[in-house]
Symmetry: C2
Subunit: 92 residues, 2 copies
């Protein structure tokens, strides 16, 4: 696995939550001090699930920092659509 | 409409987001200083949509305060299930 400056951002997509839980744990094991879990649209609820599973089942001492919500414009089939975005900071 | 101490909490459910947007606006019009938008499970993404619509389309000077995420145990058909919860504070 290559290392780059985006390593500590996990974008939550359509896979099972556990895939992203493992991705977060891996980042901390590789020495990350802060990991951001991000998602768009209906997947924002999955990002919250991922963070709660990490905290409750795997890394009990992880701290949930700032939870930011915002809106991004994305190009849809019928023009631009507004999509909600979440970014959750996790630190050890 | 009757007034009680829960007036400033809006629970987001299965209706269209605009129903909850209007509920939030109504609370502020009735003099609420702080309104909490809460939701559980997959509806947490709808709570974020509601807050973003209020802020971007209706009450431009509303401030998004603390966004709390947590887990609640709910009784499901096959025993207890963990459900993610979001609570978003809005102030004017």
């Amino acid at each position: 696995m290559t290392s780059n400056s985006n390593d500590s951002v996990i974008f939550v997509g359509d896979k099972q939550p556990m895939s992203y839980v493992l991705a977060v744990i891996t980042q901390f094991q590789k020495g990350a001090k802060e990991v951001f879990v991000k998602a768009r649209g209906r997947l924002t609820s999955r990002a919250i699930d991922v963070v709660e599973i990490v905290k409750n089942k795997f890394i009990k001492d992880v701290k949930i920092g700032e939870v930011k919500i915002s809106t991004e414009q994305m190009k849809g089939e019928k023009g631009d659509v507004n999509v909600s975005v979440i970014s959750i900071s996790l630190t050890k």
